[in-house]
Assembly symmetry: C2
Homo-oligomer: 125 residues x 2
């Protein structure tokens, strides 16, 4: 399916590239000046994930967070690094720490979703 450029897409990408962190749909929407429909934002985010532009992290609060793929060469391994959720400032960052593991023989791993939580550097200071 062909893709078209829209204000929503541009705005979402801009917000995400500015913060560098992983953001929830709500946070993204709040950062965007213009009013965009919730469903639309989700659709844009999901599309970007499909296209390998963003990766999705599901935190231990059950919510989805989205971040720009910087080192997600392999689509299947998008998000193949640790994420950190600060319970204080409710922020999610991509840590520059790759998730390292050797699956038991016979297991095929196609997705990695690793989230550490606690207090981030800024809040701990």
């Amino acid at each position: 399916m062909e893709r078209r450029n829209t204000k929503t897409k541009e705005a979402v990408l801009e917000v995400l590239s500015k913060t560098g962190k992983a953001m929830s749909r709500e946070a993204i929407e709040n950062k965007i000046q213009t009013d965009i429909n919730r469903a639309t934002v989700y659709r844009v985010l999901n599309r970007f994930c499909d296209d390998g532009i963003l990766h999705r992290v599901v935190a231990d609060n059950g919510k989805q967070y989205f971040a720009i793929c910087t080192n997600c060469e392999d689509k299947a391994m998008a998000g193949n690094h640790f994420h950190f959720r600060c319970l204080n400032c409710e922020t999610i960052e991509c840590l520059p720490i790759p998730v390292d593991f050797t699956p038991p023989s016979g297991y095929l791993v196609s997705g990695v979703n690793c989230v550490l939580s606690g207090t981030c550097k800024d809040c701990a200071a």
Copy 2:
């Protein structure tokens, strides 16, 4: 607060110890013969987690799964091992692989939630 023994608690623990895997509230309820209210099951599960008898895993589908703590000495680090979600049989297992990482300096980690997904040994065979 004092704890009382009830059929629900016994049933939940029995189901979980029999499978050895991590189960969703729904799966647990289905395995129990008698009818138990959803809210009650959640309350029992949450209580068990608080008491360090179970640990909770939030999978990348956003759902909670519960498993008996076997090697969860440190309560704060409960679930400090990888989990595997099979996209085929929708089963979640605790892998005997500890999650190993060194958080960036300044970060305080109090929780670990790591889920790999793909095809499990049985389904891949």
